[in-house]
Symmetry: C2
Subunit: 333 residues, 2 copies
C-alpha cells in the first residue's frame, strides 16, 4: 500500500486485519460498525457488490446519495446532508458513509478538499467513514490519487472513525488469490475484525506466494508502472473508439472501467429502456456490460464497461460490435 | 471423501459447496438453516469453536444436550427429546441438531443405529441434521467409521434435512490451507450456501495445489494409512502413560485428542476447581489442555488433550510433566 501510493503515506501493520479478499473485509466492517436495520450512506452510482456485502448477512441498509452527470458524478456534501436528515426523519440510524475512491464504476477520484469535507461531515454527525481504495494503484490520469490515510495525520481529526479497505484483486490483478485488508485506526474495530477474520482467512500457500512477491520491491515498482501504462493505453483507445460512435464517457483517471453515457440510445428513457439496451448488448453483440441501474445510478442510460479484459488489439473488434448496436438503435428509433 | 471413507460411499460434486475451511462452512449452514434467535441442539461435550461459528454472526443459539461419562459420553435420544421439549416450552424454535462425528473432543463415533435414531428424531420434529465429519479419516480403532451419507440412501429417508461438513484441516493436516466443504442434499441450502461462500472462497493457488495432491490417489492412500498408524501409536502411548498416572480416558477411536478424567485431582469438584487445575497445567507444566467446561461438559474435571502435536519420542517428557502436576495435586489435598 505504501509503495503503490508513491510512498506518500506509511501504513502500520498493527492497524491491519487481513481477510480473504476485499469482499469479506467490507462485510466484516459492516458487522463491526452497524447493527441490523442501521444504514450506511453511499454515493451513487456505486459498486453493485456493496449490496451483497453490506445487506445480505449484516442486515445493514444502504442509503443512496445521488450524484449526477452534471457534476461528473462527484459527491456533494449537500446531498449527503439531505440523505442523512431524511434517514433520521424515517427513524433510521446512519452509522457511516461507504465510499469507493477511486470510484467504481465512474473511475473519478475524490479531491483532498472533498475528503476533508467528508471528515468534517462524519465528525459532525458522529458517524464512520469506510473508504474502499482497491483501485488506489490503478491510476492512469495526470491527477495523483489521495488516500484518506494521507490527510488524517492531524491532531484535529478523530482517526478512530476512519476505516480503509484494500486488496490485491484489482491493483495486482490477483482476484483469485483472495487477499484483502481492513486498515483501521480504531482498536475496538480491529479487535472485532480480527476475530471475524477467522471466517475469511488467507490460506498459507497464498500468504507465502504473496509475501515473496511483495518483498520484491523492484518487481512491484515495475509491475505498477507497466500496469498503469497498459490501463492508460486501453482506456484511451476504448474511450476514443466510443467517442467516435458518439458515446461520451464520464471523466475518469483510475480503475478498469469507463462509465459511458448511452442515454441517447434508450427508448423509453427509463430503467426499462436501459435494461433493454443491456439485453441487446448481451444477445446481439455478445458484450456483457453493467447497466447503471445495477449501480443504483439515478440517471438512466449509463453503463459501466470494463476495458481491461480484452487485449489492446481486440478493442477495434469490440468497438465495431458496439457500433452495430448503436446503429440498430438509431435505425429503430 | 469417497476415498477416505474406504470407498463405501459416493459423493456427488453437484452437492458440494467449497468454503475456506470447515469454520465458515458451519457458519454458512447456520445462516441458511436458522434465523436469529432460533437454536440448534448439540450433544456435549462439544467442540468449543461451535459457539463462535453458530452464535457470533448468525445469532443462533446452541442448546446443550448433556452426555455423561457413565455412557462414555454417547448421545441418547431421551436426552435429545428432553432438550427439544424444554426449548419448545421456552418458546425457542429448534431448527436442527449439530453433531461432530467422530466426536471432538471425546473421539468416539456414532453407531449406525444411533444415526438411524437421529434421522427418525429429525424427521419427527421436522428439523435438520448438521454432521461435522472432519475427523472421518482419522480413525485408529478397530471400529469402522459410518458417515451419515452412507445410511441415507433409502427412499424412506428425507435427505433434504441432512448436511455434512468436511475439510482438509484434520484428516490431511492442512489446517492453514483453509479448505472446507458443505455437502448437502438440499438444493435450496446449496444455492444459498454457494452465494455466501463468496465471503469465504478458496484461493486459486491453494485450489491448484490441493487438486494436484488429491488427484494422486496412491499418495492419498499411503498418506491415510501412515497417518492413521501414527495417530494410533501416539494415542496408545499417551493414553497408556496417563493410565500409569491413574488418569483414565474415555474410550475413543478417532481424532487427535484424548478425553481425560482428572476429576479426582480437582478441589473443589466444580468448574472453579477444573479451571484452577488448567491454570496449574499452563503455569507449572507449560502444557495447554482444554478444560471440559470450554466444551460445555456437565461433569467437572474432564480435559481434552491433543496428543498429535508432539513427536512420539517426546511423549514420556510430557507424561513426566503431567506426573508432577498430579503429585502436586495429591500432596496438597
Amino acid at each position: 500500500m505504501h509503495q503503490l501510493m508513491g510512498g506518500s503515506v506509511k501504513f502500520d501493520p498493527s492497524n491491519m486485519v487481513l481477510t480473504a479478499g476485499a469482499t469479506p473485509a467490507i462485510e466484516i466492517l459492516s458487522f463491526c460498525l452497524a447493527d441490523q436495520g442501521n444504514a450506511l450512506l453511499v454515493p451513487t452510482p456505486y459498486y453493485p457488490g456493496f449490496d451483497r456485502d453490506v445487506k445480505w448477512r449484516p442486515g445493514v441498509d444502504l442509503i443512496p446519495v445521488h450524484c449526477r452527470s452534471s457534476d461528473n458524478f462527484s459527491l456533494s456534501i449537500t446531498a449527503l446532508e439531505q440523505a442523512f436528515s431524511q434517514a433520521r426523519k424515517r427513524g433510521v440510524k446512519v452509522r457511516g458513509i461507504l465510499i469507493s475512491n477511486p470510484s467504481n464504476p465512474v473511475g473519478n477520484m475524490m479531491t483532498q478538499d472533498m475528503l476533508y469535507s467528508l471528515l468534517d461531515f462524519a465528525e459532525e454527525k458522529n458517524i464512520h467513514i469506510i473508504a474502499d481504495e482497491v483501485f488506489a494503484g490503478s491510476t492512469y490520469g495526470s491527477k495523483k490519487f489521495v488516500s484518506i490515510a494521507e490527510i488524517i495525520d492531524s491532531e484535529y481529526i478523530d482517526k478512530s472513525r476512519v476505516h480503509i479497505i484494500y486488496g490485491l484483486s484489482k491493483d495486482l490483478s490477483l482476484a483469485g488469490f483472495r487477499v484483502g485488508v481492513i486498515y483501521s485506526y480504531n482498536n475496538n474495530v480491529l479487535a472485532a475484525a480480527e476475530k471475524l477474520s477467522r471466517f475469511s482467512s488467507i490460506s498459507t500457500p497464498t500468504q507465502r506466494l504473496v509475501t515473496s512477491m511483495l518483498s520484491d520491491k523492484s518487481f512491484i515498482q515495475e509491475y505498477f508502472e507497466t500496469n498503469r501504462n497498459r490501463i492508460r493505453e486501453a482506456h484511451d483507445a476504448f474511450v476514443e473508439g466510443l467517442s467516435e460512435l458518439g458515446i461520451k464517457c464520464a471523466e475518469s483517471s483510475a480503475g478498469m472501467y469507463c462509465w459511458a453515457d448511452m442515454s441517447g440510445l434508450i427508448r423509453p428513457y427509463s430503467e426499462k429502456g436501459e435494461l433493454e439496451l443491456w439485453e441487446k448488448f448481451m444477445s446481439d453483440a455478445k458484450i456483457n456490460i453493467t447497466p447503471g441501474s445495477a449501480c443504483h445510478c439515478i440517471e438512466p442510460g449509463w453503463f459501466r464497461i470494463c476495458f481491461t479484459t480484452i487485449a489492446l488489439e481486440d478493442i477495434p473488434l469490440v468497438i465495431e460490435r458496439i457500433r452495430r448496436v448503436v446503429e440498430s438503435c438509431k435505425s429503430s428509433s
